[in-house]
């Protein structure tokens, strides 16, 4: 099977993740969308690594995973803090920074 199909899959996953972030109000769901996008990117990187025949993409994927792990910690902490403060995790509700 041609590795380019994995790139297509990655693009589809990325689109699904992006759509999730844009259309869902629930912060947890949107967060899952972000994770999906990150992993779509990882899949694309690994596929490129395969296509290119070197390990650059795989190394990059490890970096992304590390960043993603850190991001999950911070992101969930923020969501919990927001929930404690306002008893909701709707993304549309906090709009105090409106210009």
């Amino acid at each position: 099977m041609s590795p380019i199909n994995f790139v297509y899959l990655a693009a589809v996953l990325f689109a699904i993740g992006a759509a999730t972030v844009l259309v869902r109000r629930n912060a947890i769901i949107a967060f899952m969308g972000v994770e999906l996008m990150l992993n779509a990117a990882n899949l694309a990187l690994v596929s490129f690594s395969r296509i290119q025949g070197n390990v650059h993409g795989q190394i990059m994927a490890f970096f992304v995973m590390v960043v993603a792990a850190a991001e999950v910690v911070v992101g969930l902490a923020i969501i919990i803090a927001v929930f404690r403060a306002r008893q909701t995790i709707s993304l549309d509700d906090p709009a105090e920074l409106k210009g």
Partner: protein, 625 residues
């Protein structure tokens, strides 16, 4: 005495500060401090004079170094005093006449609540004027020059609760500023040419400079002189300056400050030596002013304004003499000294008349004061004879010499300058006699409640001293060419030159014109009665009475266009400069206004924008490759 000559300036300056700082505590005795300071200066001045007289003529100068004043790169200016016959002559005139006027003012200002302040200003003036004449560089001279300007401004506007007087003070200040620009530009040119503004360097090196440069410097110095000395075309302030108390008019606007321009021109003689055209302009300015002032004097009914016009005219004589070159320098200063005495005496006389007549200045309201004020009449009469140039009184010796010198030369110049001076003498005789007759003779035209009386001794004694000077000083200084020889080390010897008309003819012509002038005044103002209301003026009288419309000319030529230029500039500033800046600010603000809608506070719209950005970036990358 020469090495401590800085005391000349320091004493009155210290007195000024004491009087200003001491406040009302000093009201009771402050005026005597002022008199004492001026007297002390006079004593130092007289001591310095005798120290100089004791030397050989060629060694009669003393440079007193005070301190390094400005030490900036190429420009190094030391503050120092230069005492030579020319400056000592001025020092004596300023301190002696100044002290007499201080004494006079004690009585004249006795009823003024701010007499202490008045004496403080007078002392400031004495200090600044002495600095002006003893400075050894143009820059230090400029400090004194501005100092006397400030003192003059403060004293003209001394009664500034009257708006007209405050305006007169402003007018004098502004007219003087125009002249000061000339002095500043001249100093800039000197620095460019000679690398220095000291008298020794500039005047010593003048022969090495180009004629064009010297002409430029000379004309700029002349501009300064016309401002300070109320010469054409900056003459308009002097008449209004009579708003000041009369002793001020006597000291500042007759005897000393207004002659500073003549001092400047004579002091800068070496510059004019190399710039004959500039010198010619000096003489022309002098000739114009002497006629202008004399003609204005014929039509004035205000005794002080008539005397002011006369001062202008007499300084015109000095300026004319200074413009004639070395032949005239000594006579310019000679006339300056005698004029200082007789004009100060006459101003004090006018003050005495005003004192006895409840501050009346309209000569049509005087008349027959001879019997009521005998001392004033006699002292004023001596001044009158002196300014007329009647031998053997002071004015004869100085003015006649100027007329003679004006007739020396070739071509058109001796005729134009000589005849101007000659006619001026006749007109002077007319207007001074008019003033004298209208004030002291004829029928009494006083208002009903007036009881003229002689002034107290404190006022009459200075008048008597000045009258003695008016009578005999000229003769004393003229005998054996004493004054010329005294000034010769500074202004140079000049070989005797024959005027185009012989001297006896000139003297006779002058005296005939003087007699004609007096006779005409006698017929018009003594034989005929003087109406209290001025008769409807003929065109000539109207022109002279309005000072040749000098104010209207200034308004039309400078003020109105100046106002328009200023308004245009203000508009341009608001519309273009400010406009551009404001437009920028508005543009940035509206850009900010537009961008703030992007900051919706909604996380999901941010995400959308980020995604759109990524898509655009990706599209660019794809297109690019």
């Amino acid at each position: 005495m020469l090495s401590v000559s800085w005391l000349l300036i320091a004493i009155p300056l210290a007195s000024f500060f004491v009087l200003m700082v001491a406040g009302r505590r000093a009201d009771a005795w402050g005026h005597w401090v002022g008199v004492a300071a001026s007297t002390a200066s006079a004593v130092v001045g007289i001591g310095a004079f005798f120290a100089l007289v004791g030397r050989d003529a060629s060694e009669r100068f003393e440079a007193v170094h005070l301190f390094t004043w400005i030490n900036g790169g190429d420009l190094k200016v030391d503050a120092g005093l230069l005492l030579d016959p020319l400056s000592i002559t001025f020092v004596l005139l300023i301190t002696i006449v100044g002290t007499l006027i201080h004494i006079y003012s004690v009585a004249y200002m006795a009823h003024d609540a701010r007499r202490r302040i008045f004496f403080a200003y007078l002392n400031l003036f004495i200090a600044a004027m002495l600095l002006l004449v003893t400075a050894d560089s143009f820059l230090l001279l400029f400090v004194g020059w501005e100092g006397v300007g400030v003192a003059s401004y403060l004293l003209i506007g001394f009664w500034n609760h009257r708006p007209a007087y405050a305006t007169a003070a402003n007018k004098a200040f502004v007219a003087n500023r125009v002249g000061d620009v000339g002095l500043i530009v001249a100093m800039g040119l000197m620095f460019a040419q000679f690398g220095s503004v000291g008298f020794a360097e500039v005047l010593g090196g003048a022969s090495g400079a180009s004629t064009a440069m010297l002409t430029a410097i000379g004309l700029m110095l002349l501009l300064a002189a016309t401002g300070k000395s109320a010469q054409f075309p900056l003459q308009s302030w002097l008449g209004d300056a009579m708003a000041g108390p009369t002793p001020v008019s006597a000291l500042i606007h007759a005897a000393t400050m207004v002659t500073a321009g003549v001092y400047l021109v004579v002091r800068a003689g070496a510059i004019y030596e190399g710039a004959p055209n500039a010198r010619l302009v000096v003489a022309i300015v002098g000739a114009i002013t002497l006629l202008l002032g004399a003609l204005i004097g014929t039509a004035k009914d205000d005794i002080k304004k008539a005397l002011a016009a006369s001062t202008m005219s007499q300084i015109g004589y000095m300026m004319l003499a200074a413009g004639l070159g070395p032949i005239g320098y000594a006579f310019a200063i000679f006339h300056l000294v005698t004029h200082g005495f007789f004009k100060a005496g006459m101003f004090l006389g006018a003050g005495s008349v005003m004192h006895g007549m409840d501050d009346q200045v309209d000569m049509r309201r005087f008349g027959a004061l001879r019997s009521a004020m005998v001392i004033t009449w006699v002292t004023f009469g001596l001044g009158w004879l002196a300014i007329l140039g009647v031998p053997p009184f002071s004015g004869f010796w100085s003015k006649d010499k100027i007329i003679e010198a004006a007739f020396v030369g070739d071509g058109w110049q001796p005729w134009v300058f000589g005849l101007s001076a000659l006619i001026g003498a006749g007109v002077t005789a007319f207007y001074m006699s008019r003033l004298f007759f209208m004030t002291f003779h004829g029928k009494a035209r006083w208002t009903d409640d007036q009881h003229p009386h002689e002034s107290p001794l404190l006022m009459t004694v200075p008048m008597m001293v000045l009258a003695v000077g008016s009578a005999f000083l000229g003769l004393f200084l003229a005998v054996g060419n004493r004054f010329q020889n005294w000034l010769a080390p500074v202004v140079g010897e000049h070989e005797h030159a024959e005027p185009v008309l012989s001297v006896p003819v000139l003297t006779t012509a002058t005296l005939v014109l003087v007699v004609l002038g007096v006779g005409l005044a006698y017929l018009m103002y003594l034989r005929r009665s003087v109406p209290i209301e001025p008769p409807p003026p003929s065109l000539a009288v109207l022109v002279a009475r309005n000072d040749f419309f000098q104010d209207s000319v200034n308004r039309a030529a400078f003020q109105t266009p100046g106002t328009h230029v200023t308004r245009t500039l203000v508009y341009a500033d608001a519309a273009i400069v400010d406009g551009a800046v404001n437009k920028q600010a508005t543009a940035i603000a509206s850009f900010g206004q537009a961008s703030r809608t992007l900051q919706s506070g909604k996380v999901r719209s941010y995400a959308l924008i980020m995604l759109a950005g990524v898509v655009v970036l990706g599209a660019i990358l794809v297109m690019g490759s």
